[in-house]
Amino acid sequence: MIAAALDSGRGLAAGATGGLPASALLVRESFLAPTRTGIPSRRVPRAPCPPVRIAVALMLVLSAATSPAAADDTDQVIVLKAGRVYTVSGAPIDGGIVIVRAGRIEAVGRDLQVPEQARVIELADAVITPGLIDACCAVDFEIPQAAFSRLYSADEQPSFWRTLAELQQRRRMDEDRAIDPESGGPPSFTTPEGLAAASPPNLTWAEHASEVTPHRLVSDSLNLFSNDFARLMKGGVTTVYVSPDSASVIGSRGTVVKTAGRLSERVVRRADAVKATMGSDPSRRGRGNVLPPGRGRSAPPSFHTRRPTTRMGVEWVFRKAFYDAQRARDGLELHGADMPPRQALPVLQQVLDGEIPLRIQARMQHDVFTALRLAAEFKLKFILEEATEAYRCLPQLQAADVPVVFGPIYMAPTGYRRYSGEADRPRLNTPKQLADAGIEFALTAQELRDEEGLLRQGMYAVRHGLSAEEALRAITATPAALLGLSGQLGVVAPGAAADLVVWNTEPFDATSRPLLVMIDGRVVYEE
């Protein structure tokens, strides 16, 4: 059923209607039906035999009758009454009322007339905010093939990354000391030792075929039924930009999805910005290029060994890709090393023309400078992601007018971020510094959840100097603007989508929790 649903999502690109289309059922039927001649059937829909046809017809009739596309709750008006409404687009409203109709906010105000036959949800002392938007979320798809190390769930523990780093260090030291051709079979990936030996570690789910893959889409590996989405939604996050991994220099395109709600309405935008990465994340993959360690000198380079291996290489691949895109547009021949794949060129040309947005992840100061330099060379506008050391580049970011998706806030980094070694100089008050410098920024929790999730990131920012109003904007209206969805998401205003969260108290209190979450006018969580 799930496979069929995903299939239907793929086959009908945008604007799929509710319910399972019958064609999906037909395909599965024929695939399973045996042939008389014993020749394996091709996966082409054939007319099924009569009893099956009747059964299918019956199912169609039933699905049509019970189709959730029936206008039951979309026509109903929902009215929310709360102690305070933070509209983000304007001043907070005490004793505010929000009227929701057909999945959109119809009206917001203090003394509004409640329509008849409306479902009234009254929560005194509660606070309503727009649904939170995470502008750079690393979602756990819970698909074993897509997440290599999650299959062994070793990296759930923070000590895993530390152990891995230590083992890598030890292994390199051993190599320096003695050359010892080990040809004892393939390395095991089930233990930290095995993973360390199979350097560079394949610890992400990114595409490894090439360093330039903007023609790939994260939405193709999206598992909308992942429990991670439910966890996000219960933390008040209603929309996320699912960010690709940082394994490629120019990686795939992200997607904007809602964390819950009707399946057909969850994907807001299938193909969004192209993600590029500066720093060591893309070059870390190719470090063992010359000698795959642990397998002896005679073994051929493995799949995991590839270029680039240094930051110079990362910059080169980026420049070559965009340079070749320009050349291709001008009708010139492409040649030289590291040509981008053919399918990547049109996408890169659209980035050059500004039709597709660009995001660049850079943690350290010099990587941010590299990004600014490259963007200036190709006259690109981009959004800076993560930017751990943004506090060191404030004047440059101001001058280039680059918005930042900043986060997460921590005292000491964890997980892959810690392993990369690039995040060792954070500052707790970076959001405040960005705000003071007038740089447009959104907060993100990336892969962190619950007590370090997006709402709590805002709480940390408030602790370290940001005002509650600025922090709320940084997790609602500003990410919506960065995603090009200003006015549609991230505000409680007429015409916006009815994505709302009702909190028991001020959202940035430590004692806050969501009482109700509404997405597109539907209550998806209620305490």
Binding site: N227, R392, Y410, L428, Y460, R513
Partner: protein, 460 residues
């Protein structure tokens, strides 16, 4: 001079002052300290607005609105701030070098031997307002060793110690490599071996006594043991068995009959990782006579054994991960339970511990308490769970856990309400000594600095 408490503290301050805060302070700390103008949350009573706390020789002598401040007291004006008791981390292995010894049954080990006063962990304790830490071996053991309650300032273990170790760490959950049958068998075997040892010792002592008196042995072994029971002295018990004997109450028991009490009793912190371990822990404690001195350290799943916990009516230490998450193996559905709520509704005495270091907020005991309030636990109960309840569990409620006259002066000055995440720890007093000041916390201030504060390279 050095043998007085004040003198010791004086040396403490002199050395501590130069280490962390960058200022060398000479001489003993002031005899009398007064904190005036702040909002006092005593935990044992109602909050006092604009109150004064008077401290003399490291002890609180007066708390109230109209307390006369002596002329020679060092006065700290804490108007607009909140004065809160020092919080207690009731169960942690941090402060030692490694969590557990490899060998499973090691009752003779003492956490004091592994305590490292220079660890960053103790500095973090000050930063987060924890003034009492119970350092005890971790959960990967059968019998781990004796813990120790320390304050996070001091250059030697002796300076740091608040109270001698009064609890042995036991785990009902199997340690690495064991299964439950082996774990329980090893536990029972340990006590059986103790009985055996005492019996042999009694016999030996009887024989020695007879040899002294130059008499012949006339009775059989059983009778000899009975008579030798009373002759066992404290110095006869070796290291391996002393703590086990103390766990049993310090009393010698041979052939099922009680003998002399040789040592001060020891309590036990028994770790129950799973719900099924609660029953086993209670059983072992009852069988061996230390149930009345047991504190149960719970894992996430133990909320399911709330009935047994209620029946046991022993204090419990909650896990650092307060929401227990489990996935249904058939449906894949994820169910979350907020553990403190279940425990609170069973009216058990519970204490909270800080979360893992990785999580910025959960490291703070005040945040853990705020999470409890978030899910409906009354504010007072949540605040007690990080102050008075741990003190009670450790048997130190006369000295720690609240702001009352007669108690040790462990105080934390918050910039606002402790449960408000925006309020920070500004000052920490331990035994009347100003042990921590936020504005002089170099490491923290670095994390809050901007590029403009960086020292510029001098152009040569």
């Amino acid at each position: 001079m050095l043998d007085t408490r004040l003198g010791k503290m004086g040396c403490l301050l002199a050395i501590f002052g130069s280490m962390a805060t960058g200022a060398v302070v000479a001489g003993p700390p002031p005899d009398k300290v007064a904190l005036t103008g702040g909002r006092i949350i005593p935990v044992s009573g109602a909050p006092i607005e604009q109150g004064t706390v008077l401290i003399e020789r490291g002890r609180i002598v007066a708390v109230g609105k109209d307390v006369e401040v002596p002329y020679d007291a060092r006065v700290f004006d804490v108007s607009g701030k909140v004065v809160f008791p020092g919080m207690i981390d009731v169960h942690t292995w941090r402060g030692m070098d490694i969590p557990n010894e490899n060998r499973p049954v090691t009752p003779h080990l003492d956490a004091r031997d592994a305590l490292d006063p220079s660890q960053l962990f103790f500095e973090d304790c000050l930063r987060l307002g924890a003034t009492g830490v119970h350092v005890i071996p971790a959960d990967n053991t059968v019998i781990g060793g004796v813990g120790c309650v320390v304050r996070p300032i001091g250059m030697s273990v002796a300076e740091m110690t608040i109270a001698e170790g009064a609890f042995l760490k036991i785990s009902a959950t199997p340690c690495r490599g064991h299964d439950r049958m082996l774990q329980m068998a090893m536990l029972r075997e340990t006590f059986l071996e103790l009985d055996d040892y005492l019996a042999k010792l009694a016999e030996k002592r009887y024989e020695e006594k007879l040899k002294e008196d130059e008499k012949e042995i006339e009775v059989g072994p059983a009778e000899a043991r009975k008579r030798g029971r009373e002759l066992i002295r404290a110095e006869d018990i070796d290291d391996q068995h002393r703590n086990l004997l103390r766990l049993r109450g310090g009393q010698v028991r041979v052939e099922g009959e009680d003998g002399p009490t040789l040592f001060k009793p020891l309590g036990a912190f028994v770790y129950c990782g799973n719900a099924m371990d609660v029953r086993l822990a209670v059983q072992v404690a009852n069988d061996n006579g230390f149930f009345a001195r047991t504190v149960l350290v719970l894992g996430g799943e133990c909320y399911k054994a709330v009935g047994e916990l209620k029946q046991a009516a022993r204090p419990v230490v909650l896990p650092s991960e307060l929401t227990y998450r489990e996935t249904d193996p058939l449906t894949g559905e994820v169910r979350e339970t907020f553990v403190p709520k279940e425990i609170f509704e069973a009216r058990l005495l519970f204490a909270l511990v800080p979360g893992p270091d990785d999580s910025y907020a959960e490291r703070m005991l005040t945040y853990q308490a705020a999470r409890c309030v978030r899910h409906g636990i009354p504010r007072d109960e949540a605040l007690r769970a990080i102050t008075l309840n741990p003190a009670k569990m450790l048997g130190l409620e006369q000295r720690l856990g609240s702001i009352e006259p007669g108690k040790d002066a462990h105080l934390v000055i918050f910039s606002g309400d402790p449960l408000d995440f925006a309020s920070v720890v500004e000052k920490v007093f331990i035994d009347g000594i100003l042990a921590y000041e936020r504005e002089k916390d170099v490491r923290l201030q670095r994390l809050l600095s901007s590029e403009a504060d960086e020292p510029q390279e001098k152009a040569e």
